[in-house]
């Protein structure tokens, strides 16, 4: 239901199942009911690695997302696992970082980056694998207003399809034309972001 290049917001109260859905799409959780299909591939234990080449996820906590010592190693981690040649890996690292205007961070130590920089590098670490779809879990949490603006602009400029799980309704409005509302693990509303967000009565009901 996510079209090519489409940007969709996933909203819902705490515990509504937003993160669970994202993790299920990545094949990190056993699926008990229903089916997940990516580019015509039905997700199963066997196809998980194929799906992960097509879909990338940026986790909420950048310290979970970035696990290598330096930015360069982190962004190179995905492409290297894809078995690409050294030149190809280097090329992808540079282009991913350049695309996000973060090439100056390349030789930095991950731990010494600011939260905003870590988010950007987190996105770069996914972008370097050139997936068709990017999932983001709370990308704007604990960012200062300026880093948040920069991040929204940056995400808006990407050609990939994006699914953002967030509490940040303002970001949802700016970034995503379409919104899905989850409540206690089930889909309870879907439609144009503007309409959903302007209906305050319904939002209250969803726990937002």
């Amino acid at each position: 239901m996510l079209e090519r290049g489409e940007r969709v917001a996933l909203i819902g109260a705490n515990g509504a199942g937003k993160s669970t859905l994202l993790r299920a799409i990545m094949g990190l959780l056993p699926i008990t009911a229903g089916e997940i299909e990516v580019d015509g591939i039905t997700l199963s234990k066997r196809t998980a690695s194929e799906v992960r080449k097509r879909v990338g996820i940026v986790f909420q906590n950048p310290d979970d997302q970035l696990f290598m010592a330096s930015v360069r190693d982190d962004v190179a981690f995905g492409p290297r696992n894809m078995g690409l040649s050294d030149e190809e890996v280097d090329c992808r690292v540079d282009s991913a970082l350049e695309r996000l205007g973060a090439i100056r961070l390349k030789e930095r130590i991950s731990d010494r980056l600011s939260v905003g920089e870590k988010r950007v590098v987190g996105v770069a670490s996914i972008l370097s694998m050139s997936p068709g779809t990017i999932l983001l879990d709370e990308p704007s949490s604990s960012l200062d207003p300026r880093s948040r603006r920069t991040l929204i602009e940056m995400l808006g400029s990407l050609p990939q399809a994006i699914l953002v799980a967030t509490h940040d309704l303002d970001m949802a409005k700016r970034l995503c034309p379409r919104t899905i509302v989850l409540r206690q693990g089930t889909l309870c509303a879907e439609g144009a972001t503007d309409e959903i967000i302007s209906d305050e009565g319904a939002l209250e009901q969803y726990g937002l």
């Binding site: 993790r23 990545m26 990190l28 690695s49 992960r52 080449k53 990338g56 996820i57 986790f59 906590n61 310290d63 979970d64 997302q65 970035l66 696990f67 290598m68 010592a69 330096s70 360069r72 190693d73 190179a76 981690f77 995905g78 290297r80 696992n81 894809m82 050294d86 890996v89 280097d90 030789e107 930095r108 130590i109 991950s110 731990d111 010494r112 670490s125 996914i126 694998m129």
Partner: protein, 260 residues
């Protein structure tokens, strides 16, 4: 409480200051990591290979840190501070020589200096030299570069990844522990540290949190194609000038050992 709190911040700060140095861009920083690792190892091995009553022959080896510190623009003060933890064990071993070795060694203006004192001085010199050499290695080469080089040298990927991850999550977990500790101490003002009966829960919670983090990290790794094999990374080969530097410096280090 102060002692503990400062221990947490010190550990992180210490790591950070050295890391900051490693971000520099001097002649020494630009040297190939293989050269620096080889030179450091040989230097330390040569220094400890001197006999235990040797002082005079060790002194020329002070040239190494003396030249390298300004050349790599490493702040001497930081280096000195990081050197301190290394001293107690050597001091203990060295002092024992003063007590137990009374062989007369040197006659000085009517005083006899015993072999114990001589070997004590020798041990302390060796300690200062070898530790500063190691610190100079990490203050000019960051962990990412070191682990890439280790992998290129054929060290098993498991161990390299292990080093990388331990190093990466060191500051994160020490920070987290510091926060936990502060909140523990704020609610138990009468104690100096974590009480023994709370120790299991305190460290247990820390452990479960660490494992929780590990599981999330593993998820992130799997999502980026990790299948249990550490992907070897590209390293540039040492240039001719790197190798030349290696041979010259090693020659300078080894030669006095053979002559003296």
């Amino acid at each position: 409480m102060c002692r503990h709190d400062s221990a947490f911040s010190d550990a992180v700060a210490g790591l950070n200051t050295l890391e900051l140095c490693a971000e520099g861009n001097t002649l020494v920083h630009r040297l190939h990591p293989l050269v620096k690792m080889a030179v450091t190892t040989i230097y330390v091995a040569v220094v400890i290979s001197f006999g235990r009553y040797e002082i005079a022959a060790l002194l020329p080896y002070f040239f190494y840190p003396a030249i390298l510190i300004p050349l790599s623009e490493t702040p001497g003060k930081i280096l000195l501070r990081r050197l301190l933890p290394a001293l107690p064990f050597s001091l203990f071993g060295g002092l024992s020589n003063v007590f137990f070795d009374h062989t007369p060694m040197i006659l000085l203006e009517g005083f006899v200096i015993s072999g114990g004192v001589v070997s004590f001085i020798s041990i302390m010199i060796k300690t200062v030299l070898s530790v500063s050499a190691i610190l100079l290695l990490v203050s000019t080469t960051d962990m990412a570069v070191l682990s890439r080089q280790l992998a290129a040298m054929g060290v098993p990927g498991v161990l390299v990844l292990q080093l990388t991850l331990t190093y990466r999550y060191l500051a994160v977990l020490v920070d987290e522990t510091g926060t936990m500790f502060s909140s523990y101490m704020l609610r138990s003002p009468e104690t100096r540290g974590v009480r023994m009966r709370d120790m299991g829960t305190f460290i247990g919670v820390l452990l479960l949190r660490s494992i929780g983090r590990a599981e999330r990290v593993y998820d992130a790794m799997k999502c980026r194609g990790f299948n249990g094999v550490y992907p070897a990374s590209s390293t540039c080969r040492p240039t001719a000038s790197d190798l030349l530097c290696l041979f010259i410096v090693c020659g300078i280090i080894i030669l006095p050992r053979c002559l003296l």
